[in-house]
């Protein structure tokens, strides 16, 4: 994997993006500003499920009329996120916070799948309830906590505290980051 990503980092567009004066900050800005649309509307849905925002609006209306905006925002997050990753793939691959972010994204994906395949199927029964059933509220809390973790981890990717080329680090950190540590030569 690392070898493939090192090769990827050597491709022409990756180098160009990494070394660009304006392109990288531009892509990064789009990635961050899209949070307002994507995370913003996702948070609003979660808060609605908890009965803390948009109470007069039926949940089914939000999932059919607001969620498309959330998905559009997510698409923009993915495209810009992949571009940012592509600009320095081997580096991010061994970044502790990047790895935490990927794990949390998997948690979120599972939560979304559970919500839509189980809980949301019967939305007609509780769509207008100010506070939704327990399972929906739990999904909302998992979603809020995971997205918050993803945003925080995403922001911290920019910092090099635990980078493999900054040693010594604890074995635990090196293990999480997947650092390849050369044994000291005798």
């Amino acid at each position: 994997m690392l070898e493939f990503l090192q090769w990827l980092a050597g491709t022409e567009p990756s180098i160009a993006l990494r070394e660009s004066l304006y392109m990288w900050p531009f892509v990064e800005s789009v990635h961050v500003l899209t949070l307002a649309l994507f995370a913003g509307t996702a948070i609003m849905l979660d808060l609605r499920l908890l009965g803390l925002a948009l109470r007069p609006v039926p949940v089914a209306v939000l999932t059919s009329r607001m969620l498309p905006w959330t998905r559009a925002g997510f698409a923009a997050m993915v495209v810009t996120g992949m571009l940012l990753f592509y600009a320095n793939p081997a580096h991010y691959y061994q970044n502790v916070f990047f790895r935490i972010k990927v794990v949390l994204l998997a948690v979120v994906a599972l939560n979304i799948w559970l919500f839509h395949s189980r809980i949301h199927r019967r939305v007609a029964e509780w769509s207008r309830d100010p506070v939704t059933p327990r399972a929906a509220r739990i999904a909302a809390i998992v979603s809020l906590a995971s997205w918050a973790g993803i945003v925080v981890a995403g922001r911290l990717i920019a910092y090099n505290w635990f980078d493999c080329d900054i040693q010594p680090q604890s074995d635990f950190i090196n293990w999480i980051a997947g650092c390849v540590i050369q044994p000291p030569t005798q």
Binding site: V32, T41, I43, V57, R65, L156
Partner: protein, 157 residues
Amino acid sequence: MGLAFFQWCEGTFIGETVRTSVWLFPIIEAFHLLGLSLLGGAVLVLDLRLVGVMLGSEPIAELARSTRRWVVAGVTTMVLTGVPLFLSEAVKCYYNPSFWVKMATLPVAVAFTVAVRRQIAKEPPAATSPRTRLAGATSMLLWFTVAAAGRWIGFSS
């Protein structure tokens, strides 16, 4: 405002603490982004409705009322995290055009948001009209400028 004031800001206890800490700035910054997400969502729900592209079946006044406290919570989070970030690098901000763009637009965006929501509470528009569209678009443009300039503070040095 004079440079002396910004130098004084950097010398405050909070400014010193954040600047000399390895973790504080990044962590506060991360919460600043969480505030952005919250504020962005709460503002966009109403703005997109005002423009007429989202949740058209829902009364404008209801959306305004039921997102209001999250706008307040979002702005509060942004300010509480933004102030220590600023204090830690006030002099850098002083020489940073993006910072001044943000500071010039922010009060306008806040005032506009308060005014629009107050107007909606007083006299709820029955449907989308050129007037509501203009209000929603203006709000999004103002907040976008605040956010984009804010992000650019970190890029321009």
